[in-house]
Subunit: 335 residues, 2 copies
DNA sequence: CTGAAAGCGCTAACAT
DNA sequence: ATGTTAGCGCTTTCAG
């Protein structure tokens, strides 16, 4: 049943090593030989045994992905990261082993057990306990997010600081003088999740530089949370005319609760979302937004992992520049 | 660096097979010997090489999961399936290799290449082209969903037919005589996705049996789609007082658009959701719903896969009985 | 340009 | 209860 490389070699009338080299391309093979081997492979429907290959070559062609399967990080964003990682991995002839974040031992297990060649880790916190562990593994790791100390690991993320600045500058340029950030849920902030903190710092600094009032309000990912956060902002900053919303789940409820409070968008309040383009597109009005290119981040993460595995390139940190897409949810401040 | 089973054997003063048997528990080991071996394993921080193990034992302890990373199937439901699968796999000492649905060749690749011991496939369509392929693999497969012909494969899903019946009976018992099903998006129906069709059949049959008017309306997973579907139902069945909503994404927009149309819930219209409990909990009112136990389905799928791998149990189909949770969104029909 | 053969690290007979 | 050893299927020197 299970056809082996020897079966192929016999059928093609060559040695096993020749078959191996046809497969790997690691040494020149004459055209006729190559063709006989390829014919035999097709005829026998031969598939190399992954374990045997891993044992002999110490390469698995598998990438480990640690994804947060929690619920407070927006699932659709996670999904896009994951698809970015999986589809890109395939272009490098790699498969993806899925680990959940709550299993800190998982990455050690799969790495020490030689199940993966590299690891990609999502949802990195400022002082993430997984980072020192990863730094000591034999396999290279790429962090999606930015810990306080990367310890020599590669990192990639949207430049959330710049994203916040972009949003604030856009509002300030439109004449808004009182603006607020509706941000991540408390639980995310309490974990000191990297992107949430960078977003807040960028917001506060940009507001200061632009000379506008800026308040930051956390926001739970539910209708009730969104309503409460909107009300809190209206109470803290009654004259607010600009809102930056960095919370995919709350976004629709923020918009509906503004309407319920008698604030029209964009006439009374301008709203800038910080979210993936498709989330922006799902809103009832064309939302001005700073795109979170989740798919691209996943792709870049894999490319960086492959660069380290295949070409032993050094670790680096890449922050993707944000892009603001103007929609119908922002307008000049009423004078 | 890489410590092997021989290093452990030497350190413990035993043979390699003894170490192997301590690890697998496949033959009795005296307490003192076992302790010496375990000590050595800990001291050397030994981790068996997964590839070598797979090669020698033809078992990988990896389960392949093919998940639809599309967007029209609600992502939060997918996420729950996935977590159910991953966490359960871990209790069987298995890891999960993630495949995307758009890659029909993927499952053949990982199965023929002996990367997995079994496969779990989500989002099965009535005449799914992957089913015949899976049926011919060496490894057992479990389908989440119900194809027209399982071809000897195991299947598991919520009994959507019974779920629809439960919802309809609940509404009928409350005196509702004109009811509608807001169902899956067209794209899902066009693929003849198994659960969507079973839901519709169950709804229509139960309405017939209960002697009530029932209409079925597809619904796109967006605000616009929900509004359009609600309007379509109101037009087709102006006296509608009962609504079954089987569309997680549209749910909030259905509720808000009913309000916009001047229909109060539950005074004018009773609404039964068919969705995971947490989605029901996210709604602005306590929703009467038939739970989709996504996590449990994922768990059962893995258990069935393991039963086949480890105990060579025969394939079976398991339909989980639905449970209706009464909330505040259903009430007696106005007389 | 091709072949022969030595492992890779582990499991599972087969011994005792 | 424990040890010995022959593979598992592939990659990769080393030899031509």
């Amino acid at each position: 049943m299970a056809t082996t490389i020897d079966d192929v070699a016999r059928a093609a009338g060559v040695s096993t090593s020749t078959v191996s080299y046809v497969l790997s391309g690691k040494r020149p093979i004459s055209a006729p030989t190559r063709q006989r081997v390829e014919r035999a492979i097709l005829d026998l429907d031969y598939r190399p045994h992954a374990g045997a290959r891993a044992l002999a070559s110490s390469r698995t062609n598998v990438l480990g992905l640690m994804a947060p399967l929690r619920i407070d990080v927006d699932v659709s964003v996670i999904m896009q990261f994951v698809t970015g990682v999986v589809t890109t991995a395939r272009t490098f002839d790699h498969d993806v082993l899925l680990l959940t974040s709550d299993e800190i031992a998982g990455m050690e297990r799969v790495a020490s057990g030689s199940m993966v060649d590299s690891l990609v880790m999502m949802d990195i916190e400022a002082d993430d306990p997984r980072v020192p562990v990863l730094a000591r593994l034999r396999q290279p790791a790429v962090l999606i997010g930015l810990p306080r100390d990367p310890e020599g690991l590669s990192c990639v993320d949207l430049d959330f600081r710049a994203a916040a600045q972009l949003a604030v500058r856009h509002l300030a340029a439109l004449g808004h003088r009182q603006i607020a950030l509706l941000g991540s849920p408390r639980a995310v902030l309490d974990r000191h999740t990297s992107y949430a903190e960078r977003m807040i710092h960028g917001f506060e600094q940009a507001a200061r530089v632009a000379g506008v009032d800026g308040v930051v309000e956390p926001c739970e990912p539910s209708m009730a949370g969104a309503v409460a956060a909107v009300d809190a902002v209206l109470a803290r900053l009654p004259g607010v005319t600009g809102l930056v919303v960095h919370n995919e789940t709350a976004l629709p409820w923020v918009l509906s609760s503004l309407r319920d409070r008698g604030r029209r968008v964009p006439e009374d309040v301008s709203v800038v979302g910080v979210c993936p383009a498709d989330v922006a597109g799902d809103q009832p009005l064309e939302l001005t937004h700073v795109d979170i290119p989740a798919h691209a981040i996943g792709r870049v993460a894999v490319e960086m992992a492959m660069a380290r595995v295949e070409r032993a390139e050094p670790a680096e940190t890449r922050l993707l520049a944000p892009v603001l897409v103007e929609g119908a949810s922002t307008a000049g401040a009423a004078h």
